[in-house]
Every structure is written in C-alpha cells, then in structure tokens.
Amino acid sequence: MTYDTPKSVLEQISTCWPMINNPVQFVMRYARAIRKYVGAVVRDSEHAEEVAQDFLVQVFSQGFCPQNVSRGRFRDYLKSAVRYVAISHLRKRRDSTVTEEMLASLIQPDSEADRAWSAEWRSCLLERVWQLLELYQRESSGNLYYSVLSQYAADPDSDSETHAARLGKKIGHSVRADTFRQYLSRARRHFAKLIVEEVRRTLQDPTREDIEQELIDLELMSQVRGYL
C-alpha cells in the first residue's frame, strides 16, 4: 500500500503557484472543508481536533509545494496532505478498529470522506463567491447584483413581477419586472465570472480545459455555462 507523501513535498518551497506564497491564508479559506474531511476520516471529534492541529503545524512550519499534485489542483493536494496527517495519526493510535483495509478505503476516489470533502470544498468556494459578490455590491454605488441574485436564489419559483416588487420594497423605489430580469442576467454573469476566477486560483497554471474540468467535477458548470 502506498500513500501520497505530502511531507516530502512540504519540505520544498516553490513559488510557481501563487497560493503557495501564503498557504496559511489559503488553508483558512477552505478551513471548513478541511475540518469536515478530517472528521469524516477520523470519526472522533477529539482526534479530529488533534489531526487538524498537526496539519496546521505542518502548513505553518513547512508551507506547500505541490509538485506532484494531480492535474495541478490545490484541492487534491490539500486533501492528500490532510489525509496523510490523518492516516499517520490513525496509525499512531494503535486502535484495533484501525485496519489497513480501513485505511485503504480512505483513499478510494469515491469514499464517504472523499464525497464530504468535495461537497464541502464546493460549498466553501461558493460561499467565497457570494461574499465577493456582496463586497462588489457594497463597493459599487448603485449596484444590486448581490441583492438581486440572493433574492432570486432564495425563491427561484416566484415570477419576475413578484421579485421586482420585492426588490422595489427593499431599495425604496419601484422596479419593473423586465428591469429585474435585466439585473438578474447581469448578476448571474458576474457571479459566473467570480466562480471561474475563484476556481482558477485553486489550479496551477490552468488551461481552459483544466478550468472547465474542475467546474464539471465540482458540479459548478451549470452555474457558469453560457458565460464562459
């Protein structure tokens, strides 16, 4: 049985990937996914906390170098690094429930932990995009992208008339249904742009195909199709 060996690559510093310059910040951006993944692997909250701490110490002291990362994905690299620390921890526990078979199952591509990781990563990424959209609206006088899109996302079944009335009440002046649709279209386009930019930040020197593949893998393509 072989596992990824992130410890060895962690010892090497590369500047080829922008995020590597500040791995702490990047790890913090996906902290929720890391915590979820560790929890899924270790299945014990106390031990999960220890694993997370061990992982963070490694990140802080050694940084990242994803030279051997599959398809240049920070997501995969980070998962490998976390998994390595988690498995090392499980081994040290000398717990009878920790068998080689169990450990081997953890690296299966469609394991429960893997699915939890992907779902949470996607959630973190989308949350970041929503935050960026909200910031964009705050900093752009008169912009309503966040208001429009969040209102629509919360109630996609209502028609434009209803949404326009609701938005008008919120902003203090009337909004026509066609205007709302126009706002919505622009907001979606900007949202899609932010998704692509955020995905691009998690990839090393990506091509268009790399980005599209990651969007497909994260089930985000439907959000950006038509805007690429």
């Binding site: 500040n22 913090m28 929720r32 935050q131």
Partner: protein
Amino acid sequence: MAQERDIQLGKYQLKARLGKGGMGVVYLATDSRLKRDVAVKILPRSLASNPVAVKRFLREARVAASISHPSIVTIHDVDQINGQCFLVMELMTGGTAQDLLQRGPLDWKEATRIIADTCHGLAAIHEAGLIHRDIKPSNIMLAPKGVVKLADFGLAKLTDSTTDSKPLTVSNTILGTPQFMSPEQCQGDELDSRCDLYSLGATYFALLTGAAPFPDPQPLQCMFAHCSTPVPDPRKQRSEIPAECVDIIMKAMAKKRADRFESAREMLAALRACLNPGQAVSTDGGVKASGTPTLSPGDSMSFGASSAEPWATTSPLVNPGQTTVIMKTEGADAAARKRMILAISGGCLALLIGLLLWSGVGRTNSGQAETGPSKLGNVGPGNSSPRPNRPIHNPVKQSLRLELAADFPAMSTQVSGVAFADDAKSFFSGTMEGTVQQWNIASRQPMRSFAGVKQGIRAIAARHNWLVAGGEAKTVWLWNTGSDQPRATLTNFEGEISSLAISPDGKKLAVGTYSELKLYQLNDTGPKLIEVLGKSTNSTVICYMVMSVAFSSDSQWIAATSWTDKAVAVWNAETGALRDVKRHQADEPEGISFIPDEDRVVFATQHKGLYVWDLSQATIQPVEAGPPANRKPRVVRTLSVLPDGQTIAAVGEWGGLISLYDLHQKTVPVENSQATGTSSYGLDISVDGTLLLLSGGDKDHRKGFIQLWKVVRESSE
C-alpha cells in the same frame, strides 16, 4: 528602562516605558511646550525604514488624528524625526479592558456598556472611512469614572501592506491578535468595516465569559477555529448572561459578513437596546416610532416620531410665519405669567398677532426689540440672554450676514473659550496653554492676564462682573473682573471642567465636568454649592461628559447635555430639582441654549442636526426641514440663540465656519465664508445681538484664533 530616560524626541521628553506591542513601544512622555503628559508610541524601525510604509502610515494616522470623539483616544501628533516614526496620543491611566479581565468576567451590564461605548467610537472611525483591524480588550482603554476609549485605530492597516496589494510582512508571519481576528482577516481577504464588528463581538464574548471565544493559545489553531468552528454559546460558561447579549455576539461574529450587523451604528443600537430593554431601536441607532408618550418630570425615556427623526416627537417645528406663543406650566415667574395671559387670550389673539405680523407691523416690533434691553449681562457659551420686551417672532424676511470686524493676533494654542465683558468693549479668552486674558476690542490687544490659572482652559464664562474659567486642572477659578487675582477657587471636581455658565442675573454658576454637574449660588462671599445635579457615582440623569450648560433668560432653569449619557436635561435652577430629561439611544447631544424668553431649548446632536425641545409641550422638533439624512453630521461644540429668538449660531468642528440657522424658516444653515481651517470652540454674542465672538484652533493645540464678527441684518422686503 534607565537608559531610556531623558530621551528627547522633538518636543517630547520620553520618561518611562509603558508597554510594548506588535506595533511598537509606548512611552510616557512630556510635551515640553504644553507641559502635559502624553503617550508616545514609536514604531519599530523595521517598519519605519520602509518609505512606502511610512508614507502610508503618516497619511492614515493623520486621518485618524482628525477624528475627535469621546470614545476614541485622541492622537495629538504624528511625525518622523531622525528615522523614528511616532505617534503622540492622549495619556490614558485607567488601564484597559484586558486588565479588567484579569479579575475575571465582567457583569453583563458593565461589559455591555464598555462594548457599547467602544462601538460608539468604532462608528466614528468607520464613518471617517477607516477600519480599525485590531479590536481587542487591550485596545479598549479605561479612564477614571468609567469613560471608555478605543485606541490604536488606523495602525493595523500598516501591518497588512505597504501598497494596496503587496504584503508588508514576511510570509508565514502572523500579525494581529488571532483570538479576536475575523475569518476574512485570517483568510487574507479584502476587508471592510464588518471585520471590526466581528472582533468587537469576540471582545464582548471575552468580557462576558472571561475568555476569548476561541482561546487556543496557538495562533494558527485559533485562526482555524474562527474560520471553521461555530461560535460557542457564552451561556454555557455563564448561564446568567442574557439572551440578548448572546444574540448580539452571534450576529456580530457571523462567519459570513452579510449575516453580521450592517454597521457599527446598527450594532450600537442593539447594545443600547440591551441596556435599555423595552425601547425599540431603529437600525441606525435611533429610537423607533412609539408615538408621543406622556412623560412626567424626571422620566428618562427616549421617544420619537419616526426612526428617521430619532429625537423628534412631532414633525414640523413651525411653518414659516407661524406665531409661537409659549407658556410655562410650572415654576412660572412674572414674565411667564404674562405669557400665560397672552396665551390664555386664545387662538383668536394668536391669529390676530399673526395677521399683524404678516402685514408688516412686526417690523416695528422687531425694531423696538433691538433697542430694548441695555444691561442684561453677557451671553456665555451655550447661554442665552434675557430679553423681557422682545416681541413675538417677526416673520418678515431678513437676510442675515456676517462681516469680519476684527481678526485678533494668532495664538500659539487653541483658544477654547471667549466671553464678552458687560460693556462689550472688551472680552475674555481662555486657552489650552492655561492663560486667561482680557482683550481690548478697539486696540485688538490684550489688556491684562488673570493670575492663578494652571493647565489648559476648556471653558470660560462672564456676566455681571464675574469671570470664571476651568479646564484640565479640574479647578474653577472665579474672578471679579475688576481684579486679576482669583476671588475664589473651586476644586475637588472629579473630572476636567468641560462647560461653565453664569446665570443672566449673575447669581448662579453651573459647572459641568467629565464626571459631574454642579450648581452654585454666587454672592459677595463667593460661590456656595446649591446642588449636585449629576454625578457619575450616583444614578443621576447626567453623569458623564457634560458638554454644555445654559441658563434660561429668567435664570429660573438650567439645561445641560451629556455626550456619554446621550441625554438632555433641565432642572430648576433655584432648587436643583429635575424638571425633565430626554435620552437617546445613539445620537449624542452637544451644544445647548435656551431660546430667550421662551420655555424652549435648542440643542445640537452630532448626527441628526439641531432640535428644539418645547418643555411645556414635551415635544422635540428638528430645526431643519427634510429628512435627517440630508443634514450634515457636525460636532457642534457651542451654540447660542441670538436675541431675536430666531437665529441660532453654531460652531464646531467644520473648518472654523459659523453656521446660522433660521429657527422659523427651517432652512439649511448659512455659513460665513472666511473659514479658519480649524475648529471653533468658543462663541459669544453681544447683548444687542450685533457682535459675535468666535475662537478656536486646531485640536493639537498648536494654533488658535479669535475673531470678532459683525451681524448685519438686511430686510429683503
């Protein structure tokens, strides 16, 4: 520390090291020119040697220094000498909230008050376009008597970058305080003011429970928790914490910024609502509509007609041309009784007077009034003068302008107060250098200096041959204006003297300080205490930061504003009995003045403009028409109603301009055009209303001015 003694940094002599933080070392120092103790923070050379960082630091520190707020530690100076970049700040000797935490968690009310005051200062910072970025208990400074001030704002940005994009710090170096950092700070994202609200929420948690929400001593783990772990319920540590406090923490510390309070003002409103349960609070910190409740004297209740008009109880003040007849309902003196008779004559008489005034008869009345009183004493800062024969408001349109009559020699320090002498041929001034002088208006030269004064003067008043001054020394000096030796000295005040007023009859003296409000009887033997109207150690309605005091023109009533208590109150000046008080959740009252011969006071607030409080009717109405949002927020240090009963002169921190409000026309204020570029603190109006004295200077006390303005009235029809 021995080797650090006697270090001279410009005009500052470093005396002792007070502490060290991530952003440098703080020293106790003496300003050798102003002879006052200050705190000097010297930035690390590693930062000071970076020219881009220094430039940015100086720029931001100067913006920060321009903010004057009672809940923010004042920055006196920022400079660079021989490569040493340093800040000079107000010296705070009461410790920090972190020191309080050493003794364990705080009572929830005390914790909430501290956080509310901090949030108040934070709102001012945000409204100046700055982000603090390092809110934590050790940056919340405590002054004696419960005053809370936020320190170190504007500095943390230096730790983030030297340019807008390039990190200043080396990779993997964590600056800041992880226990109180927002997720977006941990993640290196672009920040906005809501990161401070998160940190303030974390600080609130710490004060309530005795520990930070994520107390892991390892910075990385702590940051990781901020980004990924739900905030624990503080009631699990202290079950007595009210749910309202928990709700505020949870909202402030929401992981998503959009889920947090929208602004510091919104959070402040929630905190104050927590302290004052039962009072609805609007999102901007104002009090929500609750009608016009019936109040008894002494009730402390906020109320408003709408959330947009937080102080107001009814909408329009008066329509242009409307006659206003006011009567007193209690403590009526002879003059008031006359007005009552007038009022009892009923609406027909009011209508008749109104018609007469509209027909132009009022002009004659006005002319009589202008030549009416001859010996009424001075109008001190925040005071109004009695005009027993003044007719009812004249609605004939008059344009009013100011002409600069005299510009007195520039001073080397702030002139904090001015007051006309009884004959209006001379005036008195007090400065932050601790001088009190009398000036000859004709020669524009000082006539004499008054002895005995120590430290800076913050307030001055003169009437009936009495002259009083007080300030930083927590002492009030009282002179007979014929002598330069003090007639009496009042000491034992708990706070610095912030406001003074002598009643128009010359028989009473009001002393407002940062911690109390006292009323004295003035007679030949000197001052005698009548009543302590407010004191921080008692549960009185006015406790802290008495910004302004004023007597009514008949000397029967005294009014005062308290910044910290957000209260305006009126007492009987004979007995000291409280007549009425009005409070507000978020807007701080400042200057105050009675309208001559009326049972109404005008007061200014920082955020919503000027208001008229009708004491008889228990109503408060805005002076300016239109929504409060259209009014420019201003720190009105002093205001006074001119003898015409119609014009309000207000000065403060907007470049030395004088704003003239028309009480009846509800117009946007007219301003004189010759701004000094600094702030104005002293204002006095001659008895006949034709002259206006203005004084001020920069808040660093490095320059000051005195100007005499002529009030010119021109009828437009």
